[in-house]
């Protein structure tokens, strides 16, 4: 512990006790200048850095970290890291999950975690966190590098909102015109049928009239299906922007976008995302829609489960050489056996206020990208939704679509 304390003193600008001794040697002076240089470097780094003790307490924090979290100079020392990044100490946190699965303990993977940090005043903001286990002269400590990602997410959110608004307004317009175009033939059919019923009740029945009515009904039926056919073609024409896409980012973004939802629903999301999965050629907004939809469904599925058991596990792996596989597993009530396929049909819903379109749209999107989506009940509890997508940009299905 003595060495850590010395280091703390160095980092916070205090010289070691030995520096008071008279007769400073040249070696000592050179040592001091190294310490000074190191302190300047530590304080001026544009990245927030914490040194954490074995109990997760802050041993040292640089200026950037203090500014980022809104603390005064030296005020963070001794504070538990869970106060700053609540998820950090959570044993389910991906930070530790990755450590557990890591080949050599103590050496965390290079990847950064996207977590939510809390300022002194209570405001939450997104951060990217890199954690390094280290030992300093046999004292175990952890170094945490924190970067503010607010701007990135604000931008992302704006893009999302815009994409969503565009989609909603397009769909709204489409739905409006669809409603009107379909309503006309339906009106004519109903009035014709009811007129025919009345004519049939008369004596004698005016067969010529009834024949005309039946002809008109047939025509209006064709007209209604023509409207639907046109709408279907229009929907297909909606621009699909196909770009190489990192699925890990898509998943993390979706999880982040639902962060507040997850808090409100007291649901935890555990990510097991391998960054070595190659990119897929896909429309970002559409795949995000699929990811959001699967996550929200998982949240919904667990609404009746005790809060501490509400965990959604999201995994991304490479299946074979050419397929990326996303799995979204919930601990909910599972799916009715025999309905595993029906849930992907339009207007099928088990939710009291559901439209029954989420999974059907998701399936259209996944299939449009040459992939597959299906659901399985877990052996213990809940269900898992799988999405596979071809990786790379030059598969046949991509060619035919792009």
């Amino acid at each position: 512990m003595a060495t850590l304390r010395a280091l703390k003193r160095v980092l916070s600008g205090h010289r070691g006790a030995g520096s008071k001794n008279e007769g400073i040697t040249k070696e000592r002076a050179s040592h001091d200048s190294i310490v000074d240089g190191f302190r300047i470097l530590w304080q001026s780094l544009p990245l927030g850095i914490f040194m954490l003790g074995s109990r997760g307490e802050v041993l040292a924090a640089n200026t950037r970290a203090e500014t980022l979290f809104g603390y005064e100079d030296g005020e963070m020392i001794g504070k538990p890291v869970s106060l700053l990044i609540p998820e950090f100490n959570d044993p389910h946190s991906p930070v530790w999950r990755d450590e557990a699965s890591s080949a050599s303990p103590g050496r965390l993977p290079e990847s950064a975690f996207r977590l939510v940090a809390r300022r002194k005043q209570g405001a939450e903001f997104p951060v990217e966190l890199i954690v390094r286990r280290s030992s300093f002269q046999n004292d175990a400590s952890t170094l945490a590098f924190v970067e503010d990602r607010s701007d990135h997410y604000a931008l992302l959110r704006n893009q999302q909102d815009l994409a969503h608004l565009t989609r909603v307004s397009t769909m709204g317009e489409l739905a409006g015109s669809l409603a009107h175009e379909l309503n006309q033939p339906l009106t004519a059919i109903l009035s014709n049928v009811q007129a025919a019923q009345r004519f049939m009740a008369a004596d004698p029945v005016d067969m010529a009239e009834v024949r005309d009515i039946l002809n008109d009904i047939v025509q209006d039926d064709y007209r209604a299906s023509e409207v639907l056919r046109r709408i279907r073609t229009t929907v297909k024409k909606v621009d699909v922007e196909s770009v190489p896409l990192d699925l890990a980012t898509v998943i993390r973004d979706a999880v982040f976008l639902l962060h507040t939802d997850a808090i409100v629903r007291e649901t935890r999301v555990a990510l097991e995302v391998f960054d070595d999965v190659p990119a897929v050629c896909a429309d970002k907004v559409q795949l995000q829609q699929v990811a959001l939809n699967l996550l929200l469904n998982a949240f919904d599925a667990m609404s009746q489960v005790a809060p501490k058991e509400r965990v959604v596990w999201v995994g991304l792996t490479l299946q074979g050489d050419d397929m990326a596989r996303i799995a979204v597993r919930d601990c909910g009530h599972g799916l009715t056996v025999g309905k595993l396929d029906a849930i992907f049909k339009p207007f099928y819903t088990s939710k009291p206020h559901g439209l029954g379109l989420g999974l059907s749209i998701s399936r259209s999107i996944v299939e449009l990208h040459g992939g597959r989506i299906w659901a399985e009940n877990n052996l213990d509890r809940g269900a898992t939704f799988y999405v596979t997508l071809p990786v790379g940009s030059d598969t046949e299905s991509q060619k035919s679509r792009c």
Partner: protein, 211 residues
């Protein structure tokens, strides 16, 4: 079945809907005339000719249903049909005197019930308009002097008083008054007062009413 001279107008720009509505209305025994636009309707129909009602689609090209309603005023009862029940639009139409506001697809009983009640009110309006027109014609047959006499008599003045006001003999007034009764086709003063109370007789005749 209602009185045979009633007529139902249908204005809808959709051929198929128009034809189907016309059939349905005909199946209930009403005479129907159809129009593809508000302008066509305005150009061809004399709304005063017979008791009638109008089944009117709200969404029409160039002149829409609500505009047509404004142009027609209160001349005939209107049943609106709309593809989507917009509350604001419904309120406007109802405030402007629409008989009913139905959404498409419209159920036959709803539509036919609305038509029955619209035609009933059209019949009343028509009868009252006919009566007014008859009275106005009779009133127009009166000479200016007779109109003056009538105006004073219906206020309850005696022949002598009328004579005094008009500066003539009571006997003359008595003769005028008898001619007024004959021309207005009434047998009692009470009937004459009743006619005069309708108000629109005098204004149409252009004669000043006594204060």
């Amino acid at each position: 079945m209602l009185e045979p001279e009633t007529l139902v107008f249908v204005v809808d720009d959709d051929d198929s809907v128009r034809r189907a509505l016309a059939r349905l209305i005909r199946s209930a025994g009403h005479a129907v005339e159809v129009f593809a636009s508000a302008r066509e309707f305005l150009a061809e129909v004399d709304v005063d000719a017979r008791p009638a009602c109008l089944v009117l689609d709200v969404q029409l090209p160039d002149l829409d249903g609500l505009q047509l309603q404004r142009q027609l005023g209160a001349t005939l009862p209107i049943i609106f049909l709309t593809g989507h029940g917009d509350i604001c639009m419904t309120v406007h139409a109802m405030k402007a005197g629409a008989t009913d506001f139905l959404t498409k697809p419209v159920c036959d009983t709803d539509l036919l019930k609305a038509i029955e009640s619209a035609l009933e009110s059209a019949n009343q309006r028509f009868a009252s308009r006919c009566e007014r027109d008859t009275l106005r014609q009779r009133f127009n047959r009166l000479t200016p002097r007779e109109r003056e006499v009538m105006a004073l008599v219906v206020t309850g003045r005696l022949n002598k008083q009328v004579a005094g006001e008009l500066g003539t003999a009571e006997k003359t007034i008595k003769a005028h008054r008898a001619r007024v009764m004959t021309k207005m086709e009434v047998t009692s003063l009470a009937q004459l007062v009743h006619i005069a109370d309708r108000g629109d007789i005098f204004s149409a005749g252009g004669t000043r009413r006594p204060a």
